[in-house]
């Protein structure tokens, strides 16, 4: 692999758009293929590029059938899944780095300066805005998980409403069964149907009797991953 090609791969990964690298296993020549172009020193035919694009769409890396001796290896790169955490609370301090370790892009939204102040969230991206504005900036999609942790309806409810209007694959809200029942009533008052609100996992996380912030973060993380894989099936 040429140094320039490695740099190109890293640039494209940072751009968070899907693409694939194609490597001739015999010569080591390579090209990078995305929606709009193919760059590199490996010449690919139009049908080969179509095959690669189908693999990008299906997130399917592997050796491609080809007349080339040794074959062509296609490595598909998808942008990471995202987790939006509302509330820079104690549990967020455990959940954010955990999600990052699991490969997620993590954003924490909290309008309260004191909760986001330097050091509390280490190198996690924070948006110091009210959840309405914060969620607009984040624009959750089908590869985003939204977790609300503030316990405060003023902060949690608008975030949950924005999440329900999105295709987020996971929505979770911290709070007891009683708190959650009250939350569902408020959301119903905002016009959400019971089918809508059934998307919200509350109480949040797998039931492993988690007690500490770290343990609760584990239970949330496990549930998010479980849902992500179930949706991908």
């Amino acid at each position: 692999m040429k140094q320039d090609f490695l740099r190109l791969v890293e640039d494209r990964r940072r751009a968070k758009q899907p693409f694939a690298t194609v490597t001739d296993l015999q010569s080591g020549r390579q090209s990078l293929v995305n929606e709009s172009a193919a760059d590199g020193d490996l010449a690919l035919s139009a049908p080969q590029i179509d095959d690669v694009r189908r693999r990008i769409f299906a997130t399917r890396s592997g050796v491609m059938d080809s007349e080339v001796k040794g074959g062509l290896f296609v490595r598909v790169y998808s942008p990471p899944a995202r987790m939006v955490i509302v509330g820079a609370v104690h549990i967020a301090q455990a959940l954010a780095p955990m999600a990052k370790l699991a490969g997620f892009d993590v954003v924490v939204i909290d309008p309260r300066e004191a909760f986001v102040r330097a050091g509390r969230l280490a190198d996690i991206q924070a948006i110091v805005e009210w959840p309405d504005d914060g969620m607009k900036q984040v624009a959750p999609d089908a590869r985003t998980a939204v977790v609300t942790l503030t316990h405060d309806p003023k902060l949690d409810d608008p975030a949950l409403a924005a999440a329900l209007h999105s295709k987020a694959f996971y929505i979770g809200a911290l709070g007891s069964r009683k708190t959650h029942a009250q939350r569902l009533e408020r959301l119903s008052g905002m016009g959400f149907s019971s089918t809508d609100t059934a998307r919200i996992h509350g109480p949040v996380g797998l039931d492993i009797d988690a007690q500490t912030p770290g343990e609760i973060a584990v239970s949330i993380m496990a549930q998010v991953i479980e849902r992500m894989r179930a949706v991908a099936e």
């Binding site: 692999m1 040429k2 140094q3 490695l6 740099r7 791969v9 890293e10 990964r13 940072r14 490597t23 296993l25 080591g28 890396s61 592997g62 050796v63 040794g70 290896f73 490595r75 598909v76 990471p80 990052k100 370790l101 892009d105 190198d123 991206q125």
Partner: protein, 107 residues
């Protein structure tokens, strides 16, 4: 953020930017049960330092040695390992799979 010590491509870029000689190992095919999926990366430095993985730790040592050799020759190579050999079975690592790994020196 993709910048992470757990991201072998990122580590590889840092090494290369430092002017160090390095190689990239990538799982290109698997058969049966194998611990790491196709596309998994491991970056290897000339000294033998490595980041990432191509198995559950069963073949990393051998891949590091092959990567060091590839850094020397400057040519890419496809390696194949059957994880389920008798020695592996004895130490409880018999995943029963087979993997192919592409090793590419960075030039």
């Amino acid at each position: 953020m993709t910048a992470s010590v757990h991201d072998p491509l990122n580590q590889l870029s840092l090494w290369v930017a430092d002017g160090k000689k390095a190689a990239l190992a990538t799982v290109i095919a698997t058969w049966g049960s194998s611990p790491r999926p196709v596309g998994s990366h491991m970056a290897v430095l000339e000294s033998g330092d490595f980041s990432g993985s191509v198995s559950g730790g069963c073949i990393e040592g051998a891949v590091v040695a092959a990567a060091q050799e590839a850094i020397g020759t400057g040519r890419p190579k496809v390696l194949e390992y059957g994880i389920s050999n008798e020695a592996a079975w004895e130490v409880g690592l018999a995943c029963g799979g087979r993997v192919q790994v592409l090793v590419e020196p960075i030039s």
